[in-house]
């Protein structure tokens, strides 16, 4: 297993002095805001994060749309519900337990997770299974960096991501629309793929609650529901996890759920999508346009069977 050493940090990774000095400006500013009683200290600007070659050059969807049109059923099933209700979500203190088939399970505090590795900006396409898409500038780090904090056993083949349940802040969990806590999963090689990230922010700032604060999964070649929000537990397993959506409708939502224009949802076509903010629909691309990077993970697999 690859461990990051100090020698791995190239000079270009280090924040330039001018930016570094501006951090104090941010701190001063945020202190002022805290004194004004508007924002908690944790909301100091996180970004911008170093640029990544894995980012798309497509223009990002406006912040307003990214933060007001969400699927986060714990806060209600309408698109505008999360933006209205998620302000109550308690994001501190927050710990993430990494457990299951590992030599020694570990409990990590969010503050330590934020300091694990330098944050990167990853501008990714997001394709929802419902037929709409966005381009979101995430701020985060590879899932691999987090998984490397523990030593998985040789028998570990899958990783399960389990998200928070806060009945007192989440009006949606009192109804059995889905099996709570929401859980999603990836094959270990999918989770370790450089495109898979843990996002802690977007648009250079702390992740808004409705987008899955304080940390969420982002797997850009899969339908959006695969990327669980507000994660509290990561579990290594030897068996394919039975995810919340698979339990809700096994004939409609498969474990892989790779974006695939050839394989329709039983009730609607996946051939096209509406990019939020655009009038004409776009053709949906295989693996959401990331086929060159991830296609090899599925070579020899019948993607109709493993939808």
């Amino acid at each position: 297993m690859r461990i990051f050493h100090a020698s791995d940090i190239v000079p270009s990774d280090i924040t330039p002095r001018t930016l570094y000095e501006r951090r104090r400006e941010f701190l001063r500013l945020s202190t002022g805001i805290v004194l004004a009683g508007v924002l908690p200290a944790a909301q100091a600007k996180l970004g911008p994060g170093k640029a990544s070659a894995l980012s798309t050059t497509e223009s990002p969807t406006p912040l307003q749309a990214v933060t007001s049109y969400n699927n986060f059923y714990e806060f209600g099933t309408e698109k505008e519900d999360p933006a209205q209700n998620a302000h109550t979500l308690r994001v501190r203190p927050w710990t993430v337990s990494i457990e299951g088939l590992v030599k020694k399970s570990k409990m990590l505090d969010i503050e330590d997770i934020l300091k694990l590795v330098p944050l990167e900006e990853r501008i990714y396409r997001l394709r929802c299974v419902e037929g709409w898409s966005m381009v979101i500038p995430w701020l985060g780090f590879p899932v691999a960096s987090l998984l490397k904090q523990v030593e998985p056993l040789g028998s570990a083949k899958y990783v399960e991501f389990i998200t928070a349940v806060q009945p007192e802040t989440m009006p949606g969990v009192s109804r059995g629309v889905l099996d709570w806590p929401y859980n999603e999963g990836l094959r270990l090689d999918e989770a370790m793929h450089p495109l898979s990230i843990i996002a802690v922010g977007l648009y250079g700032d702390v992740l808004p609650n409705q987008n899955g604060a304080p940390l969420r999964l982002v797997v850009p070649w899969k339908y959006g529901f695969k990327s669980g929000k507000s994660i509290v537990k990561i579990r290594f397993t030897d068996r394919q996890p039975n995810t919340s959506w698979m339990k809700a409708a096994p004939q409609e939502y498969g474990f892989y759920s790779n974006v695939n224009p050839e394989v329709d949802h039983p009730r609607w076509s996946q051939a096209t999508e509406r990019r939020i903010g655009e009038f004409r629909k776009r053709k949906t691309l295989p693996f959401n346009g990331y086929a060159a990077q991830v296609g090899h993970l599925y070579s020899g697999m019948d993607l109709r069977k493993y939808f």
Partner: protein, 211 residues
């Protein structure tokens, strides 16, 4: 007694949902996905008007509001109006008039199939919603034809339920309202029949009846 201004007033109010969505598009206040908001909103209002139309007969029967029947045709035509706009948004903004794709969609997607059937069944009702058609068809046949509105209501609710991803609470509320409206008709018929049977009985042994 029905006031003369009632019908024009209901007519203007019935245009409010359309005005709301037109205003929303103009001012970009329909959220991040305005096309979806308009498409779904118009569909919801088609269903709303269908149920309001179906409420008129029970209002006359149970509340004795005879004027409700005078509004029924106009409200039914508004249901058709919103259903036509709803269909138009699908053909235009969702499919961009790609007819082969539309044909495939109708055959392949049960919720589209059901929606299309419901709309197709609405067309003869809308075209016969005038005095001349009643005269031509004859009252009895006209009434038989227009009973298909019950099936249309059920198909429209099914169309809604099959579109929803997981949370079917709203379609279930619509289903419950539709069931209540249809149930009220059945109850009315049963009561009418039993009253009809009670009459001769009443005449034979008048002394045993309370009234």
């Amino acid at each position: 007694m029905k006031p003369v201004w009632l019908k024009p007033l209901i007519f203007i109010i019935s245009l409010a949902p359309l005005a709301w969505y037109a205003w929303g598009v103009q001012t970009a206040s329909l959220g991040a996905n305005p096309i979806e908001a308009v498409t779904r909103g118009l569909g919801t209002w088609a269903l709303n008007f269908l149920l309001i139309t179906l409420l008129m007969t029970p209002l006359r029967n149970y509340a004795g509001w005879a004027w409700a029947i005078d509004l029924r045709r106009m409200l039914g035509l508004f249901a058709f109006f919103y259903a036509s706009l709803h269909l138009a948004t699908y053909l235009w903004f969702d499919q961009f008039f790609d007819w082969p794709a539309i044909a495939k969609d109708i055959l392949k997607r049960p919720f589209i199939t059901v929606g299309m059937v419901a709309f197709a069944l609405l067309v003869p009702l809308a075209t016969t919603s005038n005095a001349m058609a009643i005269r031509k068809l004859g009252g009895r046949r006209w009434q038989q034809l227009h009973r298909s509105v019950y099936a249309i209501g059920a198909l429209a609710v099914l169309h809604y339920a099959w579109m929803v991803k997981a949370d079917i609470r709203k379609p279930l509320i619509y289903a419950a309202i539709l069931a209540t409206l249809l149930g009220m008709r059945i109850l009315w018929r049963v009561r009418k029949r039993s009253r009809g049977r009670a009459k001769p009985h009443h005449q034979i042994v008048p002394g045993t009846m309370q009234k």
